[in-house]
């Protein structure tokens, strides 16, 4: 600490010739503070730069000669910098820039806990809608309101905190652990057939079964009634009908695949466009323009970091692969494989509540197009709940 004070105030080192002891005593008596007194000959010591002039009468009285050896301190350093104004201006501008930029948000750090459905990207998108991104003035971030908005926007959040630490916005999100869904057993409802078929077996838990194994049913037919007759009391009792009615059903899926088609293929060239993103503002570093027509884009972004802290500066690289249209001729096998893939997707979408017993494919080629018709024979639960409106 004394060293720093001396450097800030400024100090000089000087030498004393001919009898240093007498001079030192005189200085002490006059209250002039000396330090780092090195034994001679000649004795040399340090003094505050501003007190050096006071030494002349003392030296004259002590009949010694003093000579300046070295000057140091902040004032001296500033004096030396006068010859290099660019350096001083640069340093001042750097400090001003840092001071100015410290008023803005640099990074957003989102930490998720127990997250299963929420992602940091979703939170970032919501923050963007609120106008909070890298580069937003810190004064415009009402952390309490942001917290409340996030709670409203995402009901699955159980706890969220938003804190601004310097230029970094820290968001901690904890997601709720959802309770298992309770089956809705309220109200009255019938069971109807969701598709036509022949019933193979019935499992009725509540309500009155109106069909039995071997019966043929059509789509929408009532299978289990919610009205149960109470013979003892001679009245109808309404219930929430439930059960499983299994039936042999038939589904027909159709797909068509053209034998000759046009596909987009890369033409072998590649355009690389680089850019710099500072506080959310993109500065292009490449002058190449994007190609006209179809193209495949690949993005790479590298965020610069100081230690573990991400900076609001990122280097972006965009690779563009121009595409050209190429006509492709398929063989019948290739077209069939493609049709099979598409039909399998349809099967998944059909969401059959049972098992598929048999698949039968029929195909034909007409006007350069392969038509495939797939018949699925299934055994599935065809019961579907239909609520009875009280109104």
């Amino acid at each position: 600490m004394p060293k720093l004070t001396r450097w800030l105030v400024g100090w000089v080192r000087f030498t004393v010739k001919n009898g240093g002891e007498r001079f030192l005593n005189s200085c002490a008596r006059k209250g002039v503070l000396l330090w780092d007194i090195r034994p001679g000959p000649p004795i040399s010591c340090c003094i505050r730069a501003s007190s050096y002039r006071d030494l002349r009468p003392i030296a004259r009285q002590a009949k010694v000669k003093i000579r300046l050896q070295k000057k140091a301190g902040l004032k001296r350093r500033i004096w030396a910098l006068k010859k290099r104004p660019g350096l001083v201006i640069g340093a001042i501008l750097c400090l001003l820039n840092l001071w100015y930029l410290s008023h803005f948000l640099w990074t957003i750090n989102i930490q998720m806990q127990g997250a299963e459905t929420l992602t940091p990207q979703k939170i970032e998108e919501t923050l963007k809608q609120l106008g909070i991104t890298s580069g937003t003035p810190k004064e415009e971030i009402p952390t309490g309101k942001v917290q409340a908005h996030l709670m409203d926007a995402f009901p699955e959040i159980s706890w969220v905190t938003v804190n601004d630490r310097g230029c970094n916005l820290e968001i901690h999100v904890t997601e709720k652990s959802n309770a298992p869904a309770v089956e809705d057993k309220t109200g009255w409802c019938h069971l109807r057939a969701k598709c036509s078929g022949v019933i193979t077996r019935t499992e009725v838990f509540a309500g009155k079964a109106l069909v039995k194994a071997g019966d043929g049913v059509y789509e929408g037919q009532l299978l289990v009634s919610s009205a149960v007759v109470d013979h003892e009391r001679e009245f109808y009792q309404m219930t929430h009908a439930s059960g499983k009615i299994y039936a042999d059903t038939k589904h027909v899926l159709k797909e068509q695949v053209p034998l000759s088609t046009e596909i987009s293929e890369e033409d072998g060239s590649m355009i690389v466009r680089r850019g710099l993103r500072i506080f959310g503002i993109q500065i292009p570093l490449s002058f190449s323009l994007p190609p006209q027509g179809e193209a495949r884009h690949e993005f790479e972004s590298q965020t610069l970091a100081a230690g573990n802290t991400a900076l609001p500066v990122s280097l972006e690289k965009e690779k563009i692969y121009p595409l050209k249209k190429v006509s492709v001729e398929r063989t019948e096998e290739q077209a069939m494989a493609e049709a099979d893939r598409l039909l399998s997707e349809q099967e998944e979408q059909a969401n059959i509540d049972g098992k598929i017993l048999k698949r039968e494919d029929q195909s034909k080629i007409e006007n350069g197009v392969l038509f495939v018709e797939r018949t699925l024979n299934c055994e599935e639960n065809i019961a579907e709940e239909v609520k009875i409106s009280v109104d």
């Binding site: 240093g20 002891e21 030192l24 002490a28 503070l33 007194i37 034994p39 001679g40």
Partner: protein
């Protein structure tokens, strides 16, 4: 009994008064020394420093001796001390 108690307190009272009047010497190991109440430097070299110490002269001998601070009535010396001598 009362006389005995007074006799025990007497030396303590004398020491306090004398201590306040006399110069003080503080030594930290054999590397640093602070003299409070020193009235002047008589001789100064890297091997020997003689200072006026009240009515006596204190001679400090050693190696690489250096006066690190010199004030109106205080002095601090650093270096490797080998001996102290009080000369009257």
């Amino acid at each position: 009994m009362k006389r005995k108690k007074r006799a025990n307190k007497e030396p303590f009272r004398i020491n306090v008064v004398e201590m306040a009047m006399q110069p003080r010497l503080e030594i930290f190991g054999n590397r640093e020394l602070v003299i409070d109440g020193c009235t002047g430097v008589l001789e100064y070299s890297a091997e020997k420093i003689r200072v006026r110490y009240g009515r006596m002269v204190l001679q400090i001998s050693g190696r690489n001796l250096k006066i690190s601070n010199l004030g109106a009535k205080s002095l601090s010396v650093t270096g490797f001390f080998t001996g102290f001598e009080f000369l009257s």
